[in-house]
Every structure is written in structure tokens, then in C-alpha cells.
Symmetry: C2
Subunit: 300 residues, 2 copies
């Protein structure tokens, strides 16, 4: 009999394998994609292959696993959502926005390729994602559903809207409610979409989709709170970017609003709720459970 | 009996009506869309409603008309492609790219709303377009096809790729072949996609689609050549932007490469070929014929 501890260990190794698989597929996809200019391809490749956590692809796989145990077949959606995440980082880092020089321990895209190419690389990755989604291994009707899910999550009512709120909140004290709304868009929407897309691809029924959506919303919240905690007390070397940037930029964060101890408690509570949402799922939800626990203990 | 001249006149009036219809629908769509930040909505609205020619929506309608005579029903695709065109203008005008202050007689988006908001407004319009496309009045399979058509045309292998080539060509003499390749991406790809999407929505058969594609490719070429001519000898007041910018920016254009007279001839030849591609179509292709003639005589 396998102990719970060993089970967790196995899933951690499996997650690493899947991260590597996503890395490889992203790399081969961009190398052979129809890109009109080689400098543009290099810029897209640079940010796509700079070693992210691949959280959103992992969530697509894991949510599909929870329903039908064959998540990895939905590789196109996994690559597409990572392209959208990557484009958002490239544009967020631009001088006109967060003006960051480092990302994952390397110069940001505009530092490496110049601002114009960075803008175009972001635009191209966002657009490529939608082309990839039309090539997903599913029915046309499900395909239409997942494209809508992702477009709505990534756009003005989700991620881009949250980014606009984030900009408006700079150098301003905002309330915990406003902070939640901002993050619901900026990071929450795409995490939620990842889980829902995995579930929809695996033909989840309405009750399963609702439970997984609740899981995703709580996971997104926990993810953002730990992000704020890491920015306040994380290790620059592990993070690959300077800590303390929120304080320097006078940004309201969970840490600045409620303090580090309560922020940790809020993150723990959110993960508890995420796990509770999975109570009716069997062992096929093990990946999702493992990912929720990883959020709490992550160091980058 | 209606004379050919009167027929042309009627279609010109109909085109104006359709332009107005697109203007109104864009305006009402953005006013009620899910946008997380009102400043972001205002920036999106500003560029969407600043009076473009609506060429790409008109081409979707007209191509569908040529097959099935009911083009206007495909309004969502028409709005979507205009959103993509608008996003491309906003990003092209940015200081890091063309650094333009005026567009259609008004300050460019980043001049009116700042660079950060302009970048996000472009991102949001591009993303919103894909959400709209999933809502088109068609089957899921056709929906998937048109999304792929538009994503591939707008992305790294099409419009964004062409924009990257355009940047790389600045301050450099390029050949006529290189110029053609650049424009095939930068403006040609989305014009081609507009016609093909209209045709696909109206269930064109393979032969019809091939003929309409040839029409579109020649139309796109004619459009770009007249763009270069207008930049060289157009009227600033009618254009809504300064002329002579290509020369100032040392850009290779049809005018700089072959001279104004031969450029006019090339545009005329392309329109002739576009019209020839329609030879097997009946009166339902009148809109397409009218649009081809408008390209040649346009003053903005």
C-alpha cells in the first residue's frame, strides 16, 4: 500500500515531467510556426522558453484528469494558455507599464529585444494562442466554448481589465475589496479559465464544473496572496526578480493591507476552501489537490 | 431599367449605410461590453469610433453577399475584424513603433490616454474580437474555421509579422519583392481574411473561395499602393494625418521604388485583376466590384 506521503511525492514528480513536456512543446511549436520575421520569432521564443512554472497548463491537464484521467491530450489548449500568460508578462514589464528589467532571472523581453519588438511579440503570442485553440483535439462546439472562455478571461472583463485597475491603483491606498476585484481580473481570471477549460474539454457536467470553478477561484486567490508574500519576504535569487517592488512602487497588497501573518492565514484558508470544493471527486483529482498544496509552499 | 451608372450610385449609398451601421454597432457593443475599468473602456471606444473606412467589415458583408446575398447578418465577424484592425493601428502608432501623433484627424490613442492605457486598449480589442467571433451566427464548425482564418491572418505569419518586417526595413532600401512580402502581411493578410471569412460564412464552395481569395489579394495590393500614393501626394486635411511621413521616415514605398506614375498603373492593374477574378459571379458581387473601384479613387 502506498502511503499518502509517497502519493504526494509521485505527483510532484509527475508535475515536473509535465512542466518539462510543456517546455518542450512550446519550444518546438514556436520553432516551426509561421512567423514572418526571425527577430520576432526569437523574441517570442525568448519569453516562452524562459522557464515559467507552467501553472495554467498544469491546471488544464489536472482539471481534465479530475473528470476523465487523460488531461495531457489537451496540449494545444495548454500551450495556448501559456502563450497568453507569457504575452501578458511581456506587456506588463514594458516601460510604460511596470517598467521591469528582470523576469525569471533574465532581462525582460524589451530589455533583450527592444520595446517595439516586445510589443509585437506579445501581440503575436496572444494571436497565436487563438489559432492553436482552433486546433484542439475536441468537437467544434467544445472548441467554440473554450475559445470564448479564454477570450473572456484574458480580455477587458478579466486579465486586461485587472491590469488597468492595477495601474489606476498605483500610489494609492485601496481597500481589501478593491484589491480582490483587481486580482480577480489580473491573475484570477486566467487561472479560473484554465481549470474550466480542462473541465469543459473532459466533458464535465454542470455540478462538476461548478465545483472545479470554486476550486479555481480559491486557488487563484491563494496564488495571488502568496505572490504578495513572496514579493515582501521572498528570496531574490530563487524568485529571479528583485523583492520589495510592491513597497517601492507603493502598491497595495495583501501584505500591506493585512500584514504578513494574516496574509499567510488568508492564503491557507483559500487553499482549504479549494480542497473542500473537491470533496466529491475521487483519486483522479489528486493532481488538483497537489497543485493547491504546492501554491502554499511555493518559493517562486 | 437601371443604368450601370445608377447601379453604382445605389451601391455607394448602400456602402455608406453599412459604414454607419458598423459605426453604431461598434459603439453600442463597447458601451455595454464587460470592461473592468472605465478609463480602459473610454480608450477602446475612442479609437473604435473615430471614423474609419470600415473596409474590412464591408468586405465581409460584400463577400457573403456575392455568395448568398445576406452579408449583413454576419455582424459579429464584421465588428471583430474592425476591432483587430483598430488594435493594430493603436499599437502601430505607439512611440516605440511609428510614433505618430495624429490618426484620422485626432490625437492618437497614446496621445489621448497615455502609453500604458493605449497598449492595454489594443490588447483588449484584440482579445474581445475573438470572444465576438465565438458568437457569430453560424455553425460551430464554421465558427472554428473563421477564428483560425482571422488568427492566422492577424498574427506572426500575417499582420504582426508584416509589421515586424516593416520595422526592420526602416531606413533601408528594400526591393519591390521585399516590399510586396511586407505588405502581404501588414495589410494584405487581414483584407484577405475579411473576404475569405465572408465567403466561408456564406458557405462558398472551393472554386468560389479561390476566386474570392484572388480578388482579395489583388484588392489588398491595390489598397496598399494607393496608401503609398496618398502618403506622397494626398491631402492632409482629407487624410487626417500628415502626408510625406514615408519619405521623412526613409521608408521604401511603391512610390519611392517605381515612381508615382508607375505606382498608379500598378494599382490600376491590381484592380483590373481583382475584377477579373469575379467574372463568374453574378450581380450579387456588385458590392465587391464597387469596393474595388472605390479603392482606386479613394482620397483617404
Amino acid at each position: 500500500m502506498t502511503s499518502p506521503r509517497e502519493t504526494t511525492f509521485d505527483f510532484t514528480a509527475e508535475i515536473k515531467r509535465r512542466q518539462k513536456l510543456v517546455d518542450e512543446r512550446l519550444s518546438s511549436y514556436i520553432d516551426t510556426a509561421d512567423v514572418g520575421d526571425e527577430n520576432l520569432r526569437a523574441a517570442m521564443r525568448y519569453s516562452l522558453t524562459s522557464g515559467g512554472k507552467r501553472l495554467r497548463p498544469l491546471l488544464i491537464f489536472a482539471a481534465a484528469d479530475a473528470i476523465s484521467a487523460d488531461g495531457e491530450q489537451y496540449m494545444n489548449s495548454a500551450l495556448a494558455i501559456e502563450m497568453i500568460h507569457t504575452y501578458s508578462l511581456i506587456h506588463d514589464d514594458l516601460p510604460a507599464l511596470d517598467n521591469d528589467d528582470l523576469r525569471r532571472g533574465k532581462p525582460t523581453n524589451h530589455k533583450a529585444y527592444g520595446e517595439a519588438t516586445a510589443i509585437l511579440a506579445g501581440d503575436a503570442l496572444l494571436t497565436m494562442a487563438f489559432s492553436l485553440l482552433t486546433r484542439e483535439n475536441t468537437s467544434p462546439e467544445i472548441c467554440r466554448q473554450i475559445i470564448r472562455e479564454i477570450a473572456d478571461a484574458a480580455g477587458a472583463g478579466g486579465m486586461v481589465g485587472g491590469q488597468a485597475l492595477d495601474m489606476a491603483a498605483e500610489n494609492k491606498q485601496i481597500s481589501l475589496e478593491e484589491l480582490k476585484k483587481l486580482h480577480l481580473g489580473k491573475t484570477g481570471a486566467l487561472i479560473r479559465a484554465a481549470v474550466r477549460v480542462g473541465a469543459i474539454l473532459a466533458a464535465a457536467d454542470a455540478k462538476e464544473l461548478a465545483a472545479l470553478t470554486s476550486y479555481a477561484e480559491n486557488l487563484g486567490l491563494a496564488f495571488q496572496i502568496t505572490d504578495d508574500i513572496l514579493d515582501a519576504v521572498g528570496d531574490t535569487a530563487i524568485l529571479g526578480k528583485p523583492t520589495g517592488s510592491d513597497e517601492k512602487n507603493h502598491k497595495s497588497t495583501y501584505v500591506s493591507l493585512v500584514g504578513i501573518d494574516q496574509a499567510r492565514q488568508l492564503a491557507q484558508d483559500a487553499v482549504t476552501r479549494a480542497l473542500a470544493a473537491l470533496c466529491d471527486f475521487d483519486g483522479k483529482a489528486a493532481f488538483l489537490r497537489c497543485l493547491a498544496n504546492m501554491i502554499l509552499t511555493r518559493q517562486k
